[in-house]
C-alpha cells in the first residue's frame, strides 16, 4: 500500500479503543498467572505513571502547552485526603475526591493567569508554582489546624487489611485500582479527543488567533482541560499515599516527578492517546532498573537516562515514539491484509 506524504492519520485513532480494550483484558487476567509481589509493585508503578501522564496529556498534549509542575497537584490530592483521614477518620475513598476538587480549584487558579503566557514562560511559571508549594509545605507545621509536620511529612495510620479505608496488604488490590483508574482517564481522554472540546483544544494549541476567529474561547477551553487534568492528578496523589503510606514534600511535590511525567509524555507522544502509556511502559522500567542497580551510589542516574532518551527522541522523532509505531502498524497491516485500512487512509 502506497502512502502519500502529508496524509491525515485518522485511522489509528479509530483503532485505539480496541487496542486499549485488548490491553486492559490482558492486564486484568495477568494476576492469575503471575503472583510475585515484586512484579506487582513494578506493574503498579508503570500504571501509576501511565495514569498521571495520561492526565497530564489533556493539558500538556492536547492543549499544546507544557506544564512542568503537575506533581504539585498530586501532592495536593495526597495531602488533602490524608489530613482528612487522620483528623476526621474520613475514608480516603471520599477524601480523594475532596483532594481532587482542591487540586482542580488550584489548577484553575494557577491556569487563569499563566495560560496567557506563551511557550517556555508558561513552563517556567508552572515550575515556580510547584516549587512554591513544596517550600510552603516544608516550612509549615500546621495548616488550618491540621498537622502536616513540615519537611518530615505525614505517616498514614496503618489499619492492616481495611478495604473501607483504602488500605490493603495484598498489592494486587492496588494493581486493580490503578488499572481501573487508568482505564477511566483513558476513556475520558478518548471521548474528549473525539468531541468539540478536543477539536477546540488542539486548534487553540496550534493557532490561537485563527482559533479565536472561529469562535473558540481558547483560554476557557484550556482551563476546562486544566481542571479535568488536575482533578485526576489529585486522585493519583491519593492513590500513591495509600500505596506507600507515607509522604513528605520532597517525595511527591517535586520537580523530579513533574519532569518525569512530562518526559514520559514527550517521549511517548504528546497529544496522542496511547503515547503516555507507551512512554510509561518504556521509561518506568528503565528508571526502576537504574534506580535499583545504581541507586545507592549514583543518585539521579535515571533522570540522566531520561535526558539522554529525550534528546534522542527530540532529534530523530520529535513527535514521540507513537509516530514510528503507527507507521509500523500501517506497514504490518498493509503487508498481511493487503487492503486499504479505511477510506481516510487512502491517497488522493
Amino acid at each position: 500500500m502506497k502512502k502519500e506524504r502529508g496524509q491525515a492519520k485518522t485511522m489509528i485513532i479509530d483503532r485505539t479503543p480496541w487496542i486499549a480494550l485488548i490491553g486492559i483484558v490482558i492486564l486484568l487476567v495477568l494476576p492469575v498467572f503471575i503472583q510475585s509481589p515484586t512484579f506487582f509493585q513494578f506493574m503498579i508503578l508503570i500504571l501509576w505513571y501511565a495514569y498521571l501522564t495520561t492526565s497530564w496529556n489533556l493539558v500538556g498534549g492536547f492543549a499544546g502547552v507544557l506544564p512542568l509542575g503537575h506533581a504539585a497537584f498530586a501532592g495536593i490530592g495526597a495531602y488533602a485526603s490524608s489530613v482528612l483521614f487522620i483528623h476526621y477518620g474520613l475514608t480516603p475513598w471520599v477524601g480523594m475526591f475532596a483532594g481532587a476538587f482542591l487540586a482542580a480549584i488550584v489548577g484553575i487558579i494557577v491556569g487563569a493567569p499563566t495560560f496567557k503566557l506563551r511557550g517556555a514562560y508558561f513552563a517556567l511559571a508552572t515550575i515556580a508554582i510547584c516549587e512554591f508549594l513544596r517550600v510552603i509545605l516544608e516550612n509549615t507545621q500546621k495548616f488550618l489546624g491540621f498537622d502536616i509536620n513540615g519537611a518530615r511529612g505525614i505517616l498514614l495510620p496503618l489499619k492492616g487489611h481495611s478495604p473501607i479505608n483504602y488500605q490493603f496488604l495484598d498489592k494486587r488490590y492496588y494493581y486493580y485500582i490503578i488499572l481501573v483508574m487508568l482505564a477511566i482517564i483513558f476513556y475520558i481522554t478518548y471521548r474528549i479527543a473525539q468531541s468539540k472540546l478536543g477539536y477546540y483544544l488542539t486548534a487553540g494549541g496550534e493557532e490561537k488567533e485563527g482559533a479565536e476567529a472561529l469562535g473558540i474561547n481558547v483560554a476557557k477551553c484550556k482551563l476546562i482541560a486544566m481542571a479535568i487534568s488536575t482533578f485526576f492528578t489529585g486522585l493519583g496523589g491519593t492513590f500513591y499515599m495509600q500505596l506507600v503510606h507515607y509522604i513528605y514534600p520532597r517525595g511527591i511535590v517535586s520537580l523530579d516527578l513533574s519532569f518525569e511525567i512530562a518526559f514520559i509524555a514527550i517521549i511517548g507522544g504528546r497529544g496522542t492517546l496511547l503515547g503516555p502509556i507507551v512512554g510509561a511502559v518504556l521509561l518506568v522500567p528503565a528508571a526502576e532498573l537504574t534506580r535499583t542497580y545504581l541507586g545507592g551510589s549514583y543518585e539521579g542516574v535515571h533522570l540522566m537516562l531520561y535526558g539522554a532518551v529525550l534528546m534522542a527522541v527530540m532529534l530523530f522523532k520529535p513527535r514521540g515514539i507513537m509516530e514510528p509505531l503507527e507507521a509500523l502498524y500501517r506497514w504490518v497491516h498493509g503487508k498481511f491484509f493487503l487492503q486499504p485500512l479505511t477510506q481516510t487512509d487512502r491517497g488522493e
Binding site: K196, Y199, E209, G210, G215
Partner: protein
Amino acid sequence: MNLLELKGLSKSFGGLMAVGGLDLTISGGEIVGMIGPNGAGKTTVFNLITGLHFPDSGDVHFNGERTTRLKPYDLCLRGLGRTFQIVKPFGTKSVIRNAMVGAFCRVKTTQEAEEVALEVLEFTGLLPKKNLLAKSLTIADRKRLELARALATRPKLLLLDEVMAGLTPRETDDMISLVRKIRDQGVTLFIIEHVMQAVMNLSERVILLHHGEKIVEGTPQEMASDRRVIKAYLGEEYVIARG
C-alpha cells in the same frame, strides 16, 4: 438595517495613527471593497471590527448591537467571520478537521460538524483534498481552506483580508466566482483587496483608505476615474493602461 456600522473608529500604535476617525456603514447583502496603499490601516480596521484590537475611540455596531469591546470568539458566535491575510491553518490537522473546528461554532456533535464541514468543503472545491494535512496545501488551497473554515461558522458578515493575494490569474478567476457564490448565499462581504480586477468586478461599493482615513467612497466606476484615487493608489499608469 445596517449590518455593520463604524463610528469615528480610531486606533494608534504608539505615535503612529493606524486608523483615524473612520465612519462606515455596510448593509445586508452588499459586497464592499476596501483598497489602499500598504500601511494604510486596512487590516487594522478588520482587527478593530473583529475584536483582535480594541479601538482607542469610536464604536463598532454589528447587527444592531454595540460590539466595540467584544472578543473575537464572541463576535464569531454573533455571526462575524473573517479570514486572515497571512493564513492561519491548523497545519498538522487534516483539511476536514480544520473545517470541523469552524463548524463546531454552530453544532454540538462531531457527526453534525462533519456534515457541515463536508458541505463547505464541497462548496469551496476542497472536497477531494479533505484528508490532506493543511500544511501540505498550495497557497491557493490554503486561502480556500481559510474561507471554508470561516463559512462553516455560518457568518452573516464575512471579512476577507486579501484572499486573492499570491494567486495565479486562473486561480484569481476561480476565487472571484467563489466569492460571488458566497454572496449569493446571503452572506454580506467586506473585502480588502489589492487585485484591482477582483475589487472592480466584485464590489458594489469601494472605499479608499489612506493613512488611516477614508479618502473616497463610491462605485467601482467612480473610483477608477477619481483623481484622488489615482493619485493615492492606482497611479497614472493604471489610467493609461485602461485607456
